[in-house]
Amino acid sequence: MCRPGPVRHCGNMTLIEVSDLRKSYGGRPVVDGVSLAVEEGEIFGVLGPNGAGKTTTVESILGLRAPDSGTIRVCGLDPSADRAKTTLIVGAQLQESELQGKLTVAESLQLFAGCYPRPADWRTLAGRLGLEEKLNTRFAQLSGGQQQRLAIALALIGNPRVVVLDELTTGLDPAARREVWSLIEEVRASGVTILLVTHFMEEAQRLCDRVAIFDRGRVVALDTPSGLVAQTASGTVISFTPSRPLEEDVLAALPGLASVTHRDGRVTLAGTDETVNAVISLLARNRVSAHQLRVTDSTLDDAFLDLTGADA
C-alpha cells in the first residue's frame, strides 16, 4: 500500500500560507504556533488525533474563526478581514455540518449556486458527482456517501480555487469511502487545490501529496507520505523463522539495522532496504533457511505513531 507519492505541484504558487497561528479557548491553547503553506494544485493533508487543532486551523483559514495571533493568507487575502472575497476563492465542506433535511439535492444545489456571483452549472456538477438520479431526493433520505458527494458538489459550486474538506469520509463504509477518494482525485485533476483534514492514515497515504501531522496544537511533521515513512526509525520490517538460531552479534552487525526482536523463535528486524539485502546474503552464507520470510514497508501508521505517540 505504500505508494511512492511524487510531489505534484501544478504551479509553484503558494495558495494558503499560515504562519505562527495561535488560538486558545478558555486559556487552553488549541492551536499553538502552526505554520504551513499549501501550494497550488496539491492535495495537502492535515492529519492528527482528535483535539490536535486540525479543525480550528482550517476554520481559521475559512475565516470562521479569528486567530489570537499569527497570520493567514489565502491568495494574499486575510480570511477574517476579507471574508466576502475569501468565500469566493475557498469552497468548504465542514465537519458535522448538515443541510436542510427537507430540501432536495436539486434545491440545495440551486440554493448554493444562488449564493455565488459566478457559480458552476449545478446540473453538470450533479452529473459529475453521480447525483443525477438523486436530484429529487431530499437530503435526509440520502445515504451517507450520497450526502458527502453532495457536500463535495456544494464545495465546488462557486468555482473555488481551493476546497477544504474536513473529515469528509468519517462515518462512511469502506466502499463509499473509496468512491469519495476517486472523486477527490478527479477534483484535483481539474486543477482545484485541496486541503484535506482526516484521521485516516490510509486516506492520507492514498490521496495526499504532502501531509502535516498535527499533535497538541502543533505541526510535528510536514512531508510527503513516503518522506514521513522514511523519517521513521524503521522504514522496512523483515521477519522470519530461521532453521537454526543465529548469533546475536552477527545480526547486530547488519547495516542500517534499527532494532532486533526475538519471539517464539521468530526474528523481527527493523531497518532499511540495505538491511534486507544483507540479511538474505547472511542467511545464504550460513546455509540457514528462513521460513515464512516477510518483508513489509512500515506505513504512515507507524510514522504517525512514531511522531505523535511518543508523548501520548
Partner: protein, 260 residues
C-alpha cells in the same frame, strides 16, 4: 470535472443571494404542514367554528356590546402571530444552528443573517396573510364589521408581528438546542395566548388583571386592535408598550444570538 471549474461560469442571472435563500426557505416553510396549519389555518378555523354557534354571534353586555365572534377577531389575528413567532420559527432557527447549517452558509458569500431575515420575513408574511383571512372570514360568515381605524389597525399588526418574531428570535438566541427552544417557547406560549385573550377576551377580564395584561405585549396589542376595530385611534400607551417590548426584545436577540 475540468469543465465545471474551467468554464468561466454560467452566470446567466445577476447574483441575488437573498433571493436564493428566500426561495429555499419558502419551499421549506410549506414542507412543514404543522406550521402552515397552526399559523395560517387554525386561527381562521377557530373563528369560523365560533361563528356557527348561534349564541356566539349575539351582542353581549360584558364585552361592551360586542358578540363573542366580534371580540375574537383580534384574538385570532394575534393567535396566528403567536403560533408563527413562538411555535413555528424558534425550532427552525435553533435546528439550523445545531446542525451546522448557519455555519455552512457562513462559508459562502451569503451572510447567515440572510437566513434569519428570510425566516423572520416569511413568518411575518404568513401571519399577516392569516390575519387578512381571519378578518375576511369574520366579515363574510359572521358579519363582523371591518376595522374602523384601518391605519391604526395595520400599525398595531405590524408592531405586534415584529414583537412576536423578536421574542421568537430571543428564544432561539438563548436556547442551546431545539429541545430547549421548544420548552421555553411552550412556557411563553400559554401566557402570551392568555394576554392576547384566547381564554377570555381582555374586555371580560377583571380590571386588575386587565391592567396587568395591558403591560404585556399581546395584551397591549389586543387593546390597540380592539380600539382600532371600534374606529378609534389606539391609545398611545398601548402602542408605546408594544413598541418598547419590540425594541427591548430585538436588542436582546441581537445581543445574545450565537451562530454556532
Amino acid at each position: 470535472m475540468s469543465a465545471a471549474t474551467a468554464s468561466p461560469a454560467t452566470s446567466t442571472t445577476r447574483p441575488r443571494p437573498g433571493r436564493a435563500v428566500l426561495r429555499a426557505e419558502l419551499i421549506l416553510f410549506f414542507r412543514e404542514p404543522g406550521s402552515v396549519f397552526w399559523v395560517m389555518a387554525f386561527p381562521t378555523l377557530l373563528l369560523l367554528a365560533l361563528g356557527f354557534i348561534p349564541s356566539m354571534t349575539e351582542p353581549k353586555e360584558e364585552i361592551g356590546g360586542l358578540s363573542t365572534v366580534e371580540a375574537y377577531v383580534p384574538v385570532a389575528v394575534l393567535l396566528s402571530m403567536i403560533m408563527a413567532g413562538l411555535m413555528a420559527m424558534p425550532p427552525v432557527i435553533t435546528g439550523y444552528r445545531e446542525r451546522g447549517i448557519l455555519r455552512r452558509m457562513s462559508t459562502t458569500p451569503v451572510r447567515p443573517t440572510a437566513v434569519l431575515g428570510a425566516q423572520v420575513g416569511l413568518h411575518a408574511v404568513a401571519s399577516l396573510i392569516s390575519a387578512v383571512l381571519t378578518i375576511a372570514v369574520g366579515r363574510i360568515f359572521s358579519d363582523v364589521a371591518l376595522p374602523g381605524q384601518i391605519v391604526g389597525y395595520l400599525l398595531t399588526l405590524l408592531l405586534a408581528v415584529v414583537c412576536v418574531l423578536a421574542l421568537g428570535s430571543l428564544i432561539s438566541a438563548l436556547s442551546p438546542n431545539t429541545k430547549m427552544a421548544q420548552a421555553v417557547s411552550i412556557s411563553v406560549f400559554f401566557p402570551a395566548m392568555f394576554a392576547a385573550g384566547v381564554y377570555m377576551p381582555i374586555q371580560q377580564m377583571p380590571d386588575l388583571m386587565a391592567n396587568i395584561v395591558e403591560m404585556l405585549p399581546f395584551g397591549a396589542a389586543a387593546q390597540a386592535l380592539n380600539q382600532a376595530t371600534a374606529g378609534d385611534w389606539p391609545d398611545l400607551i398601548h402602542l408605546g408598550v408594544l413598541a418598547l417590548w419590540t425594541l427591548v426584545l430585538s436588542a436582546a436577540a441581537a445581543r445574545w444570538f450565537r451562530w454556532e
